[in-house]
Symmetry: C2
Subunit: 209 residues, 2 copies
């Protein structure tokens, strides 16, 4: 297997944490988004869509998208399970992972990429340039605030995001919550359940990478 990573970006970090939680050691190539290396001819020969992370499997499948990489690794290396043990758990893990992506990760990315000068004309990742939309940056911030409240309510019901054990849903949520610092948003002071959960996940060895 070969893993294409980028140490500064949130989506590769999710895959990196998942790999570490599985206890795997995979040959890793760093693709620097800061240097635009994802748009190089060399990397686009691997992933024409120019996104990171990518995992190339031993059978030669080229997996982009965190869920693609996670589903492959979970099937091939089932222990420890990170995507649920029972049918109910499997459903809850992908449900909360989707909520974290759509209500957390997406609005953080919208807020960042539609406001920061470094992303001028790069409001969407990939090969096609799109101009920034300032109103979308503002809406993103409002939605991140709503996500923090949704997460606090959930963690009042549940120790981890998808239930009573650590899963993929915690990895995604943790990486997004941590990454919200780039738009200067943090866990609100009164959200004590989220703060406790965040410190527990942050202490895991996989979160140090």
């Amino acid at each position: 297997m070969i893993f294409y990573d980028c140490s500064t970006a949130p989506n590769p970090r999710r895959a990196r944490m998942f790999i570490a939680e599985k206890g795997l050691n995979i040959e890793t190539h760093e693709i620097s988004i800061a240097e635009g290396a994802q748009l190089s001819a060399e990397f686009r020969a691997v992933n024409p869509r120019a996104t990171i992370p990518v995992l190339v499997t031993d059978d030669g499948a080229v997996l982009t998208e965190n869920l693609g990489i996670a589903a492959y690794l979970e099937a091939r290396f089932p222990e420890p399970p990170l995507m649920g043990r029972t049918a109910d758990e499997k459903g809850l893990v992908l449900m909360w992972n989707a909520i974290a992506e759509q209500q957390g990760g997406a609005p953080i990315a919208e807020a960042l990429r539609n406001s920061h000068p470094a992303f001028k004309d790069r409001a969407i990742p990939g090969t096609v340039n799109h101009a920034q939309i300032p109103k979308l940056a503002q809406r993103g911030r409002e939605r991140v605030a709503s996500f923090f409240e949704l997460l606090e309510a959930r963690l009042n019901q549940s120790v981890y995001v998808a239930g009573d054990v650590f899963t993929l849903a915690d990895i995604s949520t943790f990486v997004f919550v941590d990454f919200a610092r780039v738009i200067k948003m943090r866990i609100p002071e009164g959200n004590t359940r989220t703060q406790v959960w965040f410190e527990i996940v942050k202490a895991r060895p996989s979160a140090q990478l």
Copy 2:
């Protein structure tokens, strides 16, 4: 199990097709988005986030999000497999499902919800109102055009979206491509691979529901 459906919306249709492909007959309640029934106190007692589809399992888990519902049903009713048989296939199915959601479904929704008078102040589904952003509607249309090209290129390599058999990735992609009619976008005339694939999927009994 109880399935909460809405016959006019694309995301419930994805779950409805998945259930039909599994050959299941599940007690179904129609929630009319046209009448705002998703925001009623009765439905919010089921799903406080006010989104459809929802599947309540026999053990009482309340699964929102298509991927949550699909992962549960795939684990509990493995035949026929709709999320891959081998590790590589499982990876490819969730990879292409994510691409369809993010590059197809999301921009179609952005184009519709940020332009149509019926979605005034309802640019994002759920309980919080958000004003329309006309520039986002325009960007959505541009991205849908790119998605049609991406899909044609993929279907030049592969009979179905994720490989050589029909899967969840075909369900999601088919429903989004069909729903693009609401923003008056159709498969471009020259995209013959996509047209052939679309007719094959459209002929399945699950697509008639």
